[in-house]
Amino acid sequence: MLVSQAAERYTGPRRGRKVRASYLIGRVGVFFAVIWAAATINFAIPRLSPANPVREALLQAVSAGGVQTGSWEEVVKAYEARFGLDQPLWVQYLRYLGDLVRFDFGQSISMFPTRVIDMILIALPWTMVLLTVSTVFAFALGTVLGALMAWQKSPQWMRIFVAPVLTLSAVPYYLLGLILIYLLAFTARLFPIGGGFAIGTTPTLDASFLVEALRHSILPAVSILLAQMGGWALAMRGMMVTTQGEDYMTFGEMKGLKDWRLFLRYALRNAVLPQATSLALVLGHVASGALLVEVVFGYPGVGTLLYQAIRTFDYFVIYGVSFMVVVTLGLTTLFLDLLLPRLDPRITYRRS
């Protein structure tokens, strides 16, 4: 639950304001541990499996004529070289890590000889824009809504939001997406049914393309936003309730401050900071949900790329996508973890 995570993150009054070197080193260490764990999982899983799935996928691709260009011997050669299966395990592992450091994930099986990293680099910006925009809006709207739901002087009708917000937070993002497609794209025909841009156009940076891309991304963004907003609102409500009981709130009221000032500067400002620190914690969860939203909408991001790779058993793409998403999210989390505590003078940089 968001509430308890955020509460755990808040570690009470702190001492020094500067980022401690030990915290910095520890935090960067966690980042590398995450990357290393993801890399090792990708290395270990196919080798633990009794039949090497990559070899099987290759055999299947060859027998089904699924390899589009180039001869299958080339594919097999690339595969053998990639895995270096004649080498001892630790040599394979080190070579594999070396490849990852250079973002070399090999070549796609179904789109041979396209390099996996190129496919990911085309898809990743779509995902990042979609995810960033919807998360920022969900955070902002959810936080304000949650604060208003808890604020004692809010009009009574604010309370009616509690039930729908509660329900929305219980719905997986992509199922909400399906409902939105049906209601707003299929029935009402207000939005395109899927994809990232109009069929027959190629991605460029001119205005008409961007408008079209925006039109296509509204529904996926809204489904992520609506489903995510509930969680933020509920967490914020819990935080606001605690904040309103604080002495400085009574003091502010005694001073005769205006209600909106009490709300914004005293209650909201103090309650929002623990909320912000939990942003880094839930990002992985949000990304998981967002990838599935892409699949439902056929949005041209890494989620859809992953889905197609699963359908064609394109293992290099599967492993490459999962690794790149972990790296991207790890960097974002690192950035947030280093930046956000600077906003909250109450948070220590030492791990409790």
Partner: protein
Amino acid sequence: MSAAVESRLASAPTRRIALSRLAALRRGNRQLMVGLVVMLAIVLFGLLGPLVVDVKGARVGSAMPDQPPSVAYPLGTDSVGRQILPAIVAGTPLTLRIGLIAGTIGLGVGVAFGLIAGYFGGFWDTVLRGAADVFLTVPSLLVLVVIASTMRGAVDITTEALVVSALAWMSPTRTVRSQVLSMRERTYVHVSKLSGMSGVEIIVRELMPNLLPYLAASFVGAVATAILASIGLEALGLGPQNEPTLGMTIYWALYYTSVVRGLVWWWASPIAMIILIFFGLFLISAGLDEVANPRIRRAP
């Protein structure tokens, strides 16, 4: 001042707090009750449904394809001749079973890790809390995709539950650890320590009973996480291909583009059931949270 007056003075605020606590408990219990009733209804639906509905109708080719709801097919049929109502009746217990197996394993591992990390501290705390933090930041769906896609085809209900449970232990670990940390320094633990109880004995006899409400909330959370992950995997086509779990029904509905073909009954029925499950679990966990966690009791 007489002793009676003194005690009345002292007890007045205490009683007020006790009253407000009681009211909050009841409010927490109301959420808890509604959630339990919803989940009980779903379980009964899965248990009693097969007596009323013939679950053989969930098989491919058991009916005319693409039929809208009618008397013969109450929730319609899909594009390969599966009837939706039998698929939901048969699939709901399967999805719940995945959640229960994975949730139990996740909670078990989480409790073990959390107790060790919280009680013994030091090296084990660093390693276990570090591991939990690392795996919390990784988008769990992707790790599960890597595992499940490697197993291609060999996935059944139990294996899927095991795969999902691999990433259901982090939240319980964190919850238990932070609770144990706060309990470790309480007087009753010190007393037990002084009276010569061993570490394991203290964990089992002193800490565990106090952890129970948190464990209940963690368990519900772990089950919900596991179900969410399993449905996500299934929607990507990595679930048991021959079982009509709720997620697999959604996968086939997506695979045959049912949304843009206007076959509402096909995709809306499993979604409705999934939302109901999450709603029930959410209410239970919110209710338990309110009972276990005084910090949020004052919520309006």
